[in-house]
Point group: D2
Chain length 345, copies 4
């Protein structure tokens, strides 16, 4: 439910409305726009269904939100969300997140080499996993805190914001000390405790779609983060399960315009995990941008055959550079901006 | 299996090789290129597995095709297939098929009106169903031959090639008298008798992917048409079944670069049936083109609310015109041509 | 829509009601029960939506059928359908169809051998394909009419009803001369012309579920047969597409009670095509019976490694005999009957 | 990899083998059977690929395990796992887990009432959620520790083992104080940290299959628990995502015999979450038992319309009692035992 405040209302009146709502057991979220102030009402709307809210002084209109997600909905916020994620890089509202890097952080030298390449090609966010969700307990599970230190060092040196995955509520505090953006992986998309936990931090969250999540499921998971107070959520399509094993997963690009109609949150696309095939990544990256994606997430490794995780699906740095050239042209055609980290765009 | 003929071989030698192969119970397909001649061997390769084909005079090399589809494979033909479909419109090899029109043919006047609009907007092939595969036996099943006559008349008047669906082997002869291109619908993608039957005509075939067909299934169905002697097959992605009911089907754009790697046949995309939602069609059309599709198939109706079939998913003529403007720009960026039917491009 | 006729109405009154309905462009289906007569109204119900049918003399009640399928619905007929399929074998309403035989008919001797085994084990319907829908145009396509003759001869000799697949409207007449039951395969479940064509014959139809058909899709396809005048339809679950390639398809047993709630038609289960794995067939056959299936369809071959089609998924005759023993016990527990063909049960 | 120890080897020899393996960086798991001792080697087998293990004194044979899961595989342990879960209830190896109870714990009185009913009907494990994974942050999230206390009290009073869901690594210690069995829900099936954490407790784990997990995915997740030292894992099929929305999920019963071939772990079936439809639960429960399931998990509520979570899919106590009667008969036919908690079977 959204309460539209009458233009010209005083702060006192707004405080009064808020107090009134909160007394009923709900939470509020006040957005002060240039033209008018809007109060989002969060929680079980049954509590106020029959309350005469319209009669409170200062209330112009009470607008119900019919979707099960509230804060994430376009009804709640009409303009695209757009926010900074670190080192001056904006995402959303016409600004494209170009995330690149290796699947796992394997060492400082190799990460440095890859990061330099992708930054030179135009990437504006560096990715790398320190804690890896591996299907097998016997596979390489990541370097842990050592990996986080490397990632931070490389990000600082190159002035790039960094993103890394968090898998456990107990890791949030540790990872918060090193990363700019938390990544929630597909397998944890409905780990609701983890969503609430990162929702209580001050860092943007890259939320990957679960392997068989509907668009509503995805937005409900975003709602968990938003409802915990964190407004900076970037959604990410990374492929869903399918009956055709010729690709690793099935990239569902239609979720991009679908989300953009339903929500103000930015949504990016990860063709690396979606296809698992470097030969399909360039075409699907261009398709994603043309379809309205707010960014592209690509795994890049300088020697995929030696990568400790997901090597075969990574692009080589020169392949990534060629693709970035094409993506830049396409971004130009659609009047989107690819921010340059750490400085002048 | 492909037999590469030695450069400079005489026609007599080629005839001898062909006779040799056919004597073993297989069929042949001779392609005379500028540099060299290639003989495709079609049928059960077990029959020649141990025959010393390399010893036949004039044979330079015997190349096995490992894919289950032979004539459809890139191994069999490296360059993109490109062919005319009527009124001077080429498809494939950089030429884009822009197919538009109503789901069903409802009358001459209304089809004329829609056709004029889409042609003016840049469409180069007119679609319309005369025999409709309807889930319910109680729904409108199409105008039949009367519809075909209307389609032909409108196509002739506007000098546009036309495409219409064939559902039954017994209809092939009738429809062949009116259409330029046969459409095989998703529900008949594995109606192998129908595939063989249209494979024996001289008209191009628009083969839609079945609702849960793999890329191999689709190419195997194309192989049925090719193996019957008809080389002009256009594949079409139109969405597959999925667990998310927010769209009618799930558009699988990754099949576009996937097919382009495996086959020389053109592949187009139908976002109308794939999404069932006019609000998603523009974004997915642009995504399809950027992903390498050889054309876009869109349902257009001047009053969708009155359409006798699939109305709600149709674009209005002005929406289609706006989208064609954007698609033209994108085609330019990717150096693709949208042929103009009946005349100068 | 169903019209319940007043008890004690005369034939004249009933004829009058029928004439009235048909004058509106609809068809009727009169069921004379012991207690009362019911008239099914078939066709586009919009035509009678506002007609005062209740006022026609003899009409007691007008009951709308809300499902899109009418004749197939439980609303239309409350008791389970039960009918003979040949050689005295009844199916439905407590009578179990035990269908067994090879995938393809390969020769008289081998079919005879398999048929004798399965009949001895308790099978009551013999299956075998003469026209095979093969994914590849280069695979064995069946023996055609020669195969049909063999099937008929073996069925007659052993007094077993036989079932074989029809793939093309042009084959209906030919196959009708040899078979007891028409099979419509999964790939043709939505070949609506073929459904209408077998609907005009007098033979029962075994309708297999398409690979991604919903329960509504399946019942709508049955409706095509029923609406053409043929009431004897047996539905068959044979597995749907899934993301787990450890089985050939995914057996969806929940469709059995689901169909039984929605429709009066019998539904059987084919674990051979559903799993593609002989090691899973016994467990899934027992599960299907316990879940309420009206029969089990199993491929049996005396030397699967030499079978010309789908060999690896066939059971050996002794495996089938062991499984039939278990199924007989389970049938006893659930008070179902396995009819013995050609004679005393 | 499994090392079979020579019969008659001394403890010293076994210790020596273990020390040898562990010195290479691997872990071991020693199973002392009646006839012989087996040492499981856990970890990255590449480390010992070329080591001459066969030469170590006491080693009879070195058997590689080809599956990606090791401890969970039938190769590792041929006999069915069978273990006690509390109050004398055994699961696996012919003993059936009959789990019943409400979705969420709502209060002591109501849980008591439901529990008494299901115990009287023959259920041997009581379920109830204290921490609920809800798609919406605004839905009832469970009573937390208060709920755990109620569950423990009711279980103790009725002498039934209890199972409840754990969603967060931080909850493991708390829940461990109250429950007999940890449940890992479908959404957390690949929450690898949580799996490792419950793997370090001494309580059995009920591991539900993820909504689009393959059989390999499920066994790999079980492997996480086993590899952490906890051998008592019960797998649970609870339906997967599907394109047919007529049921909540799609029950995949074929995973039961599939798992039983690949693994020694017990696997049970939850038709409540799988179908979401009380009318389908009885048929699917019977099907599951006939297909070889080691137990059935059913939601029961005495007034589903008032249930705070998932009410509409619950059975009423009398429906459950009738179903248990049928299941008892079926268990008898298949010579399975339904243990009676707290006393004489």
């Amino acid at each position: 439910m959204i309460i539209v405040v009458k233009p010209g209302s005083t702060q006192e009146q707004i405080d009064h409305i808020v107090a009134h709502i909160e007394a009923m057991g709900l939470r509020t979220d006040v957005s002060r726009g240039i033209k008018r102030t809007i109060i989002g009402v969060i929680g079980d709307e049954d509590l106020v269904r029959n309350a005469p809210l319209q009669a409170i002084p200062g209330v112009e209109e009470v607008v119900p939100i019919l979707k099960p997600y509230k804060l994430a909905s376009r009804e709640f916020q009409q303009e695209d969300s757009s926010f900074e994620v670190g080192h001056g890089v904006k995402v959303g509202g016409g600004f494209l997140a170009m995330i690149a890097g290796p699947c796992a952080i394997e060492g400082e030298e190799i990460l440095f080499e890859i990061a330099r390449h992708v930054k030179a090609a135009g990437a504006n966010i560096l990715r790398g996993g320190a804690f890896k969700p591996r299907t097998s307990p016997y596979s390489f599970q990541g370097l842990g805190e050592e990996g986080l230190k490397i990632l931070r060092a490389v990000g600082d040196e190159l002035q790039m914001p960094v993103v890394t995955e968090v898998m456990d509520t107990r890791q949030v505090e540790l990872i918060d000390r090193y990363t700019d953006i938390f990544q929630i992986g597909a397998r944890n998309m409905q780990n609701f405790n983890l969503l609430s936990e990162v929702g209580q931090t001050k860092r943007p969250v890259l939320l990957k779609r679960g392997m068989s999540a509907t668009v509503t499921d995805l937005l409900m998971s975003a709602e968990y983060v938003l409802a915990s107070g964190n407004k900076r959520v970037i959604l990410c399509e990374r492929g869903i399960k399918s009956f055709d094993s010729s690709t690793r997963n099935l990239l569902d690009l239609s979720i991009v315009p679908n989300v953009r109609g339903l929500s103000h949150l930015p949504i990016i696309v990860d063709p690396s995990h979606a296809t698992g095939r470097p030969d399909l990544i360039p075409a699907m990256s261009l398709a994603a941008l043309a379809g309205g994606a707010d960014g592209i997430h690509i795994e890049v490794h300088s020697c995929p055959e030696n990568a400790m995780s997901d090597g075969p699906q990574a692009l080589l740095p020169p392949q990534y550079a060629r693709l970035m050239d094409q993506m830049r042209q396409l971004a130009g055609l659609f009047e989107k901006t690819i921010p340059v980290p750490g400085g002048a765009a």
